[in-house]
Every structure is written in C-alpha cells, then in structure tokens.
C-alpha cells in the first residue's frame, strides 16, 4: 500500500491555477524528488499535502486515510513532518525549544518523556553543532545550521514521511553536500520516507531514487532519477523547448 497518494490535485490562487490535476503516490521507505523551474507549483503541492494550502479539487491520502482539507496539526499527527521553503525556524526560541515544539503530539507519560530525551540525543548525535548551541537563540544560526535544525525538528516528531522544500536554498554547495549527506544517512538508518523538492535535478541524479519533474503545474516526467537525468528529455522537459 502506498504511504502517500495524490489523485488529480488542483490548486488555485484566486484566478491562477498553480497545480493542475497532479497524481502520484509514494511507497514507504522511498526517496522521491520533485524538481522543476520557478513557479512550477512544487511548493504549492507540498503545502497542500501539509494542509496549509487548500486544494481546489482532488484527493490526498496519507497512510490510507483521506487527509484532503484536514487541519495541518491533524495531518502532522498522522505522521507527516514538513520542512517548508525558507525553513521557518522559530527565531526567538532556543535551538532546543525549536526541537521540542513538535513533541507535544505524544502522550505525556514517563515512557514518552524518556523517548523524547533519547530522540533529542539522537538529533544531537547527528548534528553536534546543535548540541553545542542548544540554549542559544535559533535565529542567530547560520543558514546551514538552520537547515540542520529544521531537519532535526522534523525528526523529533517521529514522522512516517518527511517533506522538505528546497533544503539547498541559500546554502553554499559544500554546506548543501553536508546537509544531504546526513539526510541520506538518516534515511538509510531509519527507513525514512523522503519527499524532497529541489529546483535542479542535479541533486536527484547524485542521490538517486525516483524523480518527478513538474512544469506549469503539471507533471512532465516521472521515473528513476539517474536514467531520467542523463537523457536529453529532461532538458526539453525542464525548459519546455517543445513549446517554442
């Protein structure tokens, strides 16, 4: 059974149709990249899955449940953790507080408190810089450190699916490499399901997995990242040469 399934999703902002009848599904443990140029509708799609942008038509299912039109907090409770575009760190909170915001979904008994503590330790193991500055203001972290923080924050909710919008945004290439290195290691270690949005397909080719290419609110290509990425088709699809 698929973990996430979208069928014929359409998203409109008043007159503009940002996403048009998009369907795809993901299985547990999969890495799926959604790539495409500016304005392709990638972020809109991710926000719709998280429940913060309403869909005009279509249906979204998470773990077999219909989540279309559900409140974001309820979708989070069903196991989706979202890292939105621009990261959205809680800048006035400390780093540790940022990590703890999403742990309120668990019951408040002794075992779950112990679990939270060990989850926190695990995040600190992966990103030692966060531990060093745990009581510092999150807004003062550099872009790369903030990206690590929001990935850690997403992990703390023990999600079944993590959706990340442009983790490379505004980061130097070597920092992006570091972020991906840890993300992929975490994925392998915990059997995470990852839905990653990036503008360029280069990263998807490097990492591997499945890739969907969007343009003008629609899916134009869907397949294995490495085979798709090396073909000519992707150039045409990305830039839309066939339109000219």
């Amino acid at each position: 059974m698929s973990l996430l399934a979208l069928s014929d999703i359409t998203i409109r902002y008043s007159r503009l149709t940002a996403v048009r009848e998009v369907s795809f599904s993901m299985t547990e443990g999969e890495i799926l990249f959604i790539t495409g140029p500016n304005g392709a509708g990638k972020s809109s799609l991710l926000r719709a899955i998280a429940g913060v942008t309403p869909v005009a038509a279509g249906k979204i299912q998470l773990a077999g449940q219909d989540i279309t039109g559900q409140a974001p907090e309820n979708i989070a409770r069903l196991g989706l953790s979202m890292v939105p575009e621009g990261r959205e760190v809680f800048g006035s909170l400390t780093i540790e507080e940022n990590l703890l915001v999403g742990t309120g979904m668990q019951a408040r008994d002794r075992t779950s408190r112990a679990r939270t503590a060990s989850d926190l330790e695990a995040v600190y193991m992966t990103f030692p810089i966060l531990k060093d500055r745990r009581n510092g203001q999150a807004g003062l972290l550099s872009g790369g450190q903030q990206q690590m923080l929001v990935i850690g924050r997403a992990l703390m909710t023990n999600p079944r699916l993590i959706a990340i919008d442009e983790p490379s945004l505004g980061l130097a290439p070597n920092i992006t490499d570091q972020v991906y290195e840890r993300l992929i290691a975490l994925q392998a270690q915990r059997q995470l399901t990852l839905l990653i949005v990036e503008q360029s397909s280069a990263r998807a080719m490097m990492v591997g997995g499945r890739m969907i290419l969007m343009r003008g609110g629609q899916i134009v290509l869907d397949g294995d990242a490495r085979t798709l990425g090396s073909g000519e088709a992707i150039q045409a699809a990305y830039f839309g040469y066939e339109d000219h």
Binding site: R47, A50, G51, V52, T53, A71, P72, E73, I75, A76, R77, S81, M82, P84, E88, F90, G91, S92, L93, E97, L100, V101, G102, G104, M105, R108, G139, R153, T157
Partner: protein, 301 residues
C-alpha cells in the same frame, strides 16, 4: 519622591497588564482586540447584582478576597473564551482589518448588554475596604492598595513568564505567536493555543478590573475604555506582539503620565495627556517598529 515612584509604578501596572492582554491575543492571531476594554468593564460589573437602580446591589463584591479574586479572574477568562468561540473563531482566516472591526462591534455588544442590565449611571462600590488604609514605608505614607497593586502585578508578570518559559503549553504559545502555521505543521493544536491566549488575556482583564475597581471605588461603564486607550498605545510602542515590549511600554507610559503630572507647570497640567501623546508620537517617529520589535511578523496562513 517615593510617593511619585509608587504612583508611577501602580499606574504603569494597570497599563502594562492591559497591554499584555492585547499583545497575547495579537501574538497568536494578529487580532487587535478592541473588545478587551469591555471585558474589563464586564468583570467590574460582575461584582454587582444586575439592576438599574442607582444604588449598587453588591453581589460578588461581598465575597472574601480569596473567593473574590478567582471569581473575577474566571469571569474575565470565561467571557474572553466565549468571545473567541462565538465570534473570533469565524474570522480566523479573515484579514486583520475585518477582525478588528469585528472586535469593535463585539465590544459594543458587551457594553450595551451591560447598560441594559445596569443602566449607565456610575455606581459606587467599596471593594476590599481594608486595602485603602495607608501604611508607612521609609517615612512615606502609601495606600496599602498601591503596594498590593504593584506586588500583584509583579507576581503576575513573573508567573506569566515562568508559564511561558517552563511549560509545554507556554512553549507552544510562543512558537504559535512567532509562526502560527509552522507550529500547526508540528502538531500544535491551533484551537487550544488560541483559547489559552484568550483565557489568559481575559484573566488579565479581570485583574485590572479588581485593581481599578478598588482604586476608584466606582463601577462605571467607561472604566475599561480609559485604561485601554493607553494600553493600546503601550502595545504599539512596545512593538505589536512583543510581550516584553508591551509591559515595558506600559510602565513607561505610567511613569510619563505621573512625572508630567508632577513636573509640568500648574497651568499646563490639565493638558498632561497631550504631552504624553506627544511623547508617544516622538517615540513612534524614531522607532516605528516599536521599542522591541516582535519576531515573526510573518503572515498567518
């Protein structure tokens, strides 16, 4: 000198508590709640039995203080939460101007409801009369009430700070105040946080009602409005949505009012408020974002 300091602190306390009540709600839902002053008025009137007679029929006002205080705080919290459930919840996704108008209208509804039950005449009430006894500190004679006002305000501020910093609910409120939709994506329940903010804000309104009621000894439909104007100004000067800023600005405004009352030449004293508002304009010219700019002025989704 000491007397002036205490006057400034106790007036500032009222403004600070009022500003805090507005800032709490603004923080989580970007609503400038004009009905807040009427919640204060409601709490004061709750001390009396409904009647349009000139004589006040004291009702809850007779309770011993350890019952009176929780009663009034609960009245405020209850009405405030009711406002959120009945009115503001419908406007969650409306733009801030629409919400502001709604709060304005709601304020009038509460006010006229009170007028209907109690008539518009101010009534006198002696609330906790033991507190008007003067006491002597460092050679100055101060009303005990003033001292209690200041101590109670400090206790409220410390309690609220601890609540926001140390509890799970406080963490969720701070996260939601900074970035509401991100907090929701992390499973923070929107309704719970907003109702919590309204409850706290309403309880603060109750505290103001108690203090103001015992200071003035009258129950008047206008009393909420007079504090609220200064409290609104304090929230704006403090940096809309910044709790610390609201408190700081509340005390500064209290101090400015009292100091001008003392320092201005006698002829100019009736125009004291003009000077205070003049100072407000100056502050806003130099720091339009407020003394402490609030984080996360990001739009809610």
């Amino acid at each position: 000198m000491l007397q002036t300091l205490f006057d400034a602190l106790s007036l500032g306390s009222l403004y600070a508590l009022g500003a805090l009540g507005i800032a709490l709600i603004f923080g989580v839902m970007r609503l400038v709640n004009f009905a807040h002053g009427d919640v204060i008025a409601f709490c004061v009137f709750a001390l009396l039995w409904p009647s349009t007679d000139a004589m006040a029929i004291v009702f809850a006002g007779q309770l011993p203080w350890y019952l009176l205080v929780p009663f009034v705080l609960l009245c405020g919290a209850g009405l405030s939460v009711l406002c959120e459930i009945v009115v503001f919840r419908r406007f969650r996704n409306a733009n801030p101007a629409t919400m502001m108008i709604a709060s304005f209208a709601l304020g009038f509804v509460i006010r006229y409801f009170l007028l209907m039950l109690y008539s518009s005449r101010p009534k006198s009430i002696s609330l906790l009369p033991a507190l008007s006894q003067p006491i002597e500190i460092f050679g100055a004679r101060l009303p005990l009430l003033q001292l209690i006002t200041i101590v109670a305000t400090m206790a409220i501020l410390i309690g609220l700070t601890l609540f926001l910093r140390q509890t799970r609910f406080g963490l969720e409120m701070r996260a939601a105040a900074e970035n509401f939709s991100m907090a929701r994506m992390l499973g923070v329940r929107a309704n719970r946080v907003i109702m919590g903010a309204f409850a706290l804000s309403g309880a603060l309104a109750g505290a103001i009602a108690l203090i103001f009621g015992s200071q003035t000894g009258t129950v008047d439909i206008q009393m909420g409005a007079s504090i609220m104007l200064m409290a609104f100004i304090a929230t704006v000067i403090g940096g809309l949505g910044s709790l610390g800023g609201a408190v700081l600005a509340g005390f500064l405004l209290g101090a400015a009012s009292v100091v001008m009352q003392v320092a201005l030449p006698v002829d100019a004293r009736p125009f004291r408020d003009a000077f205070v508002y003049g100072a407000v304009i100056l502050v806003l010219l130099f720091r339009p974002q407020g003394l402490i700019a609030a984080r996360g002025t990001k739009e809610r989704v």
